[in-house]
């Protein structure tokens, strides 16, 4: 089988390949990243007094176990998924008094602000690859603790 390819056709093929790579790059850059934020109560009690609270997913539990915290049980109080475009900011209410503000930094890092009672308590910029998890926590009454987790889902 013989095929004749002129130089013009070759040039068009190369131009098409370049355009393809450029468009693919733009599509990747333009894609939104999905995150999941959770408010978790850490306790040694076997059950939560609030029946709506469920035990955290095994995946999150496994991650929390690597931190060797002193609590035996973790109950999910609130969960919220959200998408973040490049450079966008999303404020996510975790409870009446607690929220986080997440800002995308150059499509790879996130700037996370923890807001308690309307005041910014902590702010940090983290590289958060898919599957990694950022845990913000503090002590709560009766030797329990609150945790806010942020995970990149996609």
């Amino acid at each position: 089988m013989k095929l004749t390819i002129s130089r013009g056709l070759q040039a068009r093929c190369v131009a098409s390949a370049l355009a393809f790579f450029a468009l693919a790059g733009l599509a990747v850059q333009a894609a939104e990243l999905k995150y999941e934020a959770r408010l978790i109560w850490a306790t040694n009690d076997k059950k939560s007094p609030d029946s709506k609270h469920k035990e955290v997913d095994p995946e999150i539990r496994k991650k929390l176990d690597t931190l060797n915290l002193k609590w035996a049980n973790y109950f999910e109080v609130h969960r919220k998924q959200f998408s973040l475009a490049k450079g966008a900011v999303e404020k996510v209410a975790m409870s009446d008094k607690c929220s986080i503000e997440v800002r995308d930094v150059d499509g790879k890092k996130v700037e996370v602000s923890l807001i308690g009672k309307g005041e910014q308590v902590w702010k940090g910029t983290k590289l958060l690859p898919k599957g990694d998890i950022l845990v913000l926590g503090g002590n709560a009454p009766n030797s329990t603790a609150w945790l806010v987790t942020l995970k990149r889902v996609e």
Binding site: I5, L134, V135, N139, A140, P141, W146
Partner: protein
């Protein structure tokens, strides 16, 4: 008669030998009938070519005429190269090679860019700022990709202030 003697005889026929060398050839011709026969043949051929060439005249000055022929040869060679049918595998290779080179170049640019971005100290370091006199410590478990930021503020003061009926608010 070997090749060297034949060439020597041709040189003699063309008048390229002189003095001692020409004398040697003449002595050899005097005693070798084969050599004489070959010389006669060479001379006849030479005479025939000269006669044939005398009838031809170039339609243009010699340099211009040959440069025209040279240009035409090059033009036809280029056209032949352009239109030469190639097997489909070779054609595919001809497309893939530049496309692969372009892809490799783009990949190289991307990787170098990423490396530079990661080596940029202003970008590489994670930044943390705690407010309101909060003491924090950070622990990172690399194996599980988990980062813990533990805040003392507002521990047991405001943030986790217990409300009746809701242990976390």
């Amino acid at each position: 008669m070997n090749e060297e003697l034949q060439l020597k005889l041709q040189a003699y026929c063309d008048g390229e030998l002189a003095g001692h060398n020409a004398g040697e050839v003449e002595a050899w011709l005097a005693k070798d009938p084969d050599a004489r026969a070959l010389l006669a043949e060479l001379q006849n051929t030479r005479a025939a070519l000269r006669q044939f060439g005398d009838d031809l005249t170039l339609p243009a000055p010699r340099d211009f005429y040959w440069s025209k022929i040279q240009r035409e040869i090059r033009r036809q060679e280029n056209r032949r190269t352009d239109e030469l049918p190639v097997p489909w595998l070779a054609a595919l290779r001809r497309f893939l090679m530049p496309a692969g080179a372009v892809a490799a170049a783009l990949l190289g640019v991307f990787l170098v860019g990423e490396q530079l971005r990661q080596n940029d100290p202003s970008r590489a370091a994670d930044m943390e700022v705690a407010f309101s006199d909060s003491d924090t410590f950070t622990y990172r478990d690399f194996s599980s990709g988990t980062t813990l930021v533990w805040l003392s503020y507002p521990a047991e003061i405001e943030f986790a202030e217990p409300d009746p009926g809701d242990i976390l608010d």
